[in-house]
Symmetry: D3
Subunit: 136 residues, 6 copies
């Protein structure tokens, strides 16, 4: 079993808040992350798949195919977008990195498990100090 | 003459566009950076001052003082904010990194030139691939 | 189950040696790390906690609370200090990164497991080439 | 149980292709990685061993010993070399990072498990975006 | 005057040697960099242009245009190639980073000075420890 | 004129204080950097030399020669040492990064200007946020 990780990046705006909470409660729970006019990040995404090494070509999966799937399913929907307003798979969810990691897992899983490989981990760094990992 | 550089970071949303241009012209000139619902970045800011090393304490300037000035004048106004909507010194300007670097220079210059040091350079990285430097 | 990692940094002096060994044995076992007048590092610390994502706020734990606990329990005791001489939870231990990781785990565990989250990993990088992980 | 990771680097040329495939099939499967005149990378290698912390010296293993073993068994054979042509333990294998990680595991395992420690992981980054992990 | 820097990357093989020197002289002058079967690097290239900020759009130059010029003129010719054998603008030159920086300057200068901007610097990092800058 | 930069690293302890000042004045001016039991850093040093590219071998200077000079004159004296107590060229100076950069310049200049190259810049990063440059 070999683990292959592809790093991708996207720049997006977001805001953490609940519509059903008053402003002061949002402020108390989410702090400056709930500022009303949005803020944003250079998110870094690591997608890890696992599988056997093919005797034929020596890959777990072809990384170019993997890259295209991540680009089409995830990066094009998130890059230079507003996570709260523009991203179909985040609709109705609080825009935390935790929820984003789970949503990206669910988006990718049906499409990325090619050539017998399995999705193993979604890791997202929101800043150089804060990151999230999800293993399904 | 010694050059001292302090790195700081801020996470902000922005959008590049001109109100007096139609949407298609904004799209043509600014591309995905003009998406209407904002996007954002983890901006990295490097402030460089230059001066003589003090015989008394061996510093160009006290870096804790420098840090507080940058925090108060720049980071508190930009971090977790929308550059187009929330930042007084960017009002009426297109929110490019070029304009941001010049505006930060103008904001900092009257306050940061302590102990005989001079402001030398404002450098901002918007992504790991794109950065701007301004020397006044 | 989601894993949340917070990165923190501290700058500290240390020296690896045993008082009950002669100098030449300390030199043989610990090499230049046993130099008598200390040396130091910019240590990087990653604290990983794991737990379920709250439906209420979309977090595993509030990262600001996590940050404050790590600051108060660990960083304030280590940053700009001498690990051998100044740090209560390292007293009587050889100041290796291995022992430091275990000690930080023991210091943090009773305080950091808030909101149902569990401490998962303490990782410390001593240099860009050497790092230690401890999972309890 | 503590995990200790040592980072090393090597600069090498390689090419992905099969001699028993025609050029167009190599091109289709391996893309630009099959270009006939080679290309190369600054590979980063992380070797992780695991074991108990010694009461005597506070290490899992002495990192200087570990470093020498990795240098002698791996880095000297790969650094400034051609992976396809110069490296005995890669002869007859397609020069993918997957195959390289498995081969390095097999080379190191008999020599690196000193002081009761076990080899835990070989991680190789080929570029800043692509990496492989192997756990045996 | 504002300075805008774009970072790009390319993975290439090379070898330092002179055909008119015997092997032992090449070995003496160039060391392991003259190994006959090539080695390679993940080169990082920073292209800096300087100019005035446009009142119309707030840019020095449009970074997407800049990116396309660097891609077409430089990256496509170097990435996944052999610098000694495949790159027209390096023919007949020793494949040092110094010569590469000068050659890239000469390749880019006639094409990259758009919108009144001037080419300011070509910087290339061959490894994380060695880099070259050329200002024309 | 080409600029060549070599990066080196050293891990050292230091403390900022003046013996002729009382403790409270040292504390007021130098803050936690004056803690009596020392602290330390992973210092990063960049040495830049400038010169013409040799037609004979395509280098400004041979980087292996440069590396050896920096190792012998600087790194061996600073690495795993106490800057205040162990380093001859820092005796009697306050151990700030500013003073260290000037002292390293003075140590290297007579030895590093080989093959017609000139010393151009000494840059030292004390932490990921603070750095100093000196151009003589």
């Amino acid at each position: 079993m070999i683990y292959l990780t592809r790093r991708e990046r996207f720049c997006a705006a977001h805001r953490m808040f609940r519509e059903d909470w008053p402003d002061d409660k949002n402020k108390k729970v989410f702090g400056k992350c709930s500022n009303p006019n949005w803020h944003g990040h250079n998110y870094i995404l690591w997608v890890t798949v696992k599988g056997n090494v093919s005797d034929e070509h020596g890959f777990v999966v072809n990384i170019n195919t993997l890259k295209l799937i991540i680009q089409e399913r995830i990066i094009e929907k998130l890059d230079h977008k507003n996570i709260n307003l523009d991203v179909d798979f985040m609709k109705g969810k609080i825009a935390t990195t935790e929820n984003l990691a789970v949503a990206i897992w669910n988006e990718l899983k049906p499409h990325i498990e090619i050539d017998g490989a399995l999705l193993h981990c979604i890791k997202i760094a929101e800043t150089e100090n804060n990151s999230i990992e999800y293993y399904g």
